[in-house]
Amino acid sequence: MTSDEKGWKEIAPAGVCSKSSTLFLTGDWKTYTPVRDPAKCTICLTCVIFCPDGAIHWHPEKGDIEFDLSFCKGCGICANECPTKAISMKIEQE
């Protein structure tokens, strides 16, 4: 238990959550990490849609997608579903 956990007088009552989960980085869970070959990628956005963690973002202003590895758990759904096999899962290096 960390020291920044507050006492009963300070916490908001009724258990109303006080932090967004976007502050909790689940990216360190992964063993495998997705690697995209931009040459094969057709920006179909299938991976963006299927990712259980919303860890792949579509940037319309850039016309490209971006993998947010701080949330990616390395499940491999993106690689499995990519119609052009542009994504492969590699062992994450330390």
Binding site: I11, P13, G15, V16
Partner: protein, 409 residues
């Protein structure tokens, strides 16, 4: 005490009085399931709905568990919510009672106190709500239909107080109060509405970093009812306990403010003290029996017996100071329990009163009478017999500390 407004006197049963109080209190959602002896509350209220006399969504849920879940959810959305039940219905709500209190949801519920199965019994005793004393609900027990009306109105103010934010259950004895006609004085609609006031919401900090009104609102999203692991759960429970402590003062305050409007007061709101100043023998009880007991005390006083009565109006939070002060100079006390904690060596009220007096300077004899289970009537003669027993105890000491009044051996 002189009342300020002209009140109407109508013959009403306890259930009807409750329904009328709800009608006047600007309740938004009533979600309920019928069960004897509460049925008249929901039937009467549905008449009000059918005749356009209330602006309330009346949801006939498919069970009591869902009734309380729906009431809680409505309250979480910012609505004022009310429900009613008894006996098995309250038992079915058991899980949700804790959840409602844990969510700090100010739902008000009338309980037409009735025995629990098995065997099945539809008549009045306190086993249903006493069994829920740990659930984090404020519990008030009323003596008559008048008090049922007054207490339901007060309950909304108590529950919604920012220092409390806990649900409140108002218990009225099944059949004895729920179904018996009495003269009930009611306030004019606008006076009750003003007394209860609109539902106000405390502000709370959300995960967006905003401090906003405590309700489900798409403009200010918040997450209610999370999972709290070992590192947080305890703190939330401590907060509920603190809210109960705050409720002691709030119940008294609301009782006083209501007296100014209606001319009616119930002791200090927490307890009613009857002829206890110089009493040597006293009875502690809750609910309608207190009414009969007051007559018994009057009779005894006329005969020169220094008898007194302490009625607990609030059982949760337990009025520790009031109980101690009222009883510490009495010599022999009988605590009446209209419920039984099997294997517990006496009833719940007996245990709690006894523990309060453990630290008192002078300790009275304290004995327990379990009575009235399953609607077993206790006549004035039987009740008077308790005082005779207490007088005997003063001479000879305690024989059997726990007795069953009116039980066939």
């Amino acid at each position: 005490m002189k009342s300020l407004v002209k009140q109407e006197k109508t013959a009403m049963s306890g259930d009807e009085a409750v329904a009328f109080a709800v009608k006047q209190s600007d309740v938004d959602v009533v979600a309920a399931y019928p069960i004897t002896p509460q049925t008249i509350i929901v039937e009467k209220f549905s008449e009000y709905v059918a005749n356009g006399e209330v602006q309330t969504e009346f949801v006939c849920t498919e069970s009591e568990h869902s009734a309380l879940a729906a009431s809680l959810a409505a309250s979480a959305t910012g609505a004022r919510a009310f429900t009613a039940t008894a006996s098995a219905g309250l038992a079915l709500m058991h899980e949700m009672l804790f959840v409602t209190s844990g969510c700090r949801s100010p739902v008000v519920m009338a309980v037409a106190n009735r025995a629990l199965s098995a065997p099945l019994n539809i008549h009045g005793d306190h086993s249903d709500s006493i069994a829920q004393r740990d659930s984090g609900w404020i519990q008030l027990y009323v003596e008559n239909a008048q008090e049922a009306y007054d207490s339901v109105i007060q309950a909304f103010r108590i529950a919604e107080d920012f220092g409390v934010m806990l649900p409140v259950m108002v218990g009225l004895d099944g059949f004895t109060l729920s179904h018996t006609l009495e003269n009930v004085e009611t306030l004019p609609d606008d006076v009750t509405k003003k007394f209860v006031g609109p539902r106000l919401l405390p502000n709370i900090l959300t995960h967006e970093g905003k401090t906003v009104p405590f309700k489900l609102d798409p403009d200010n999203p918040m997450t209610m009812g999370p999972i709290a692991l070992q590192n947080y759960y305890f703190e939330f429970k401590r907060q509920q306990d603190e809210a109960m402590k705050n409720a002691l003062a709030v119940i008294q305050k609301v009782n006083d403010e209501y007296a100014e409007v209606s001319g009616r007061k119930y002791g200090n709101g927490l307890v009613e003290v009857y002829h206890l100043e110089d009493a040597e023998v006293a009875v502690v009880c809750m609910g309608s029996t207190a009414g009969t007991m007051k007559n018994v005390v009057d009779e005894l006083r006329q005969e020169g017996v220094k008898a007194g009565l302490l009625r607990l109006r609030a059982f949760r939070p337990l009025p520790v100071e009031e109980i101690r002060k009222a009883l510490e100079n009495v010599k022999a006390v009988a605590v009446l329990d209209k419920s039984l904690s099997f294997g517990g060596n006496g009833g719940a009220v007996f245990h709690e009163v006894r523990h309060v007096l453990y630290d008192a300077k002078a300790k009275p004899y304290i004995v327990n009478y379990v009575y009235g289970l399953g609607g077993r009537d206790a006549s004035p003669i039987e009740l008077r017999g308790i005082y005779n027993d207490l007088l005997r105890i003063l001479e000879k000491g305690v024989g059997n500390p726990i007795q069953y009044l009116g039980l066939r051996e």
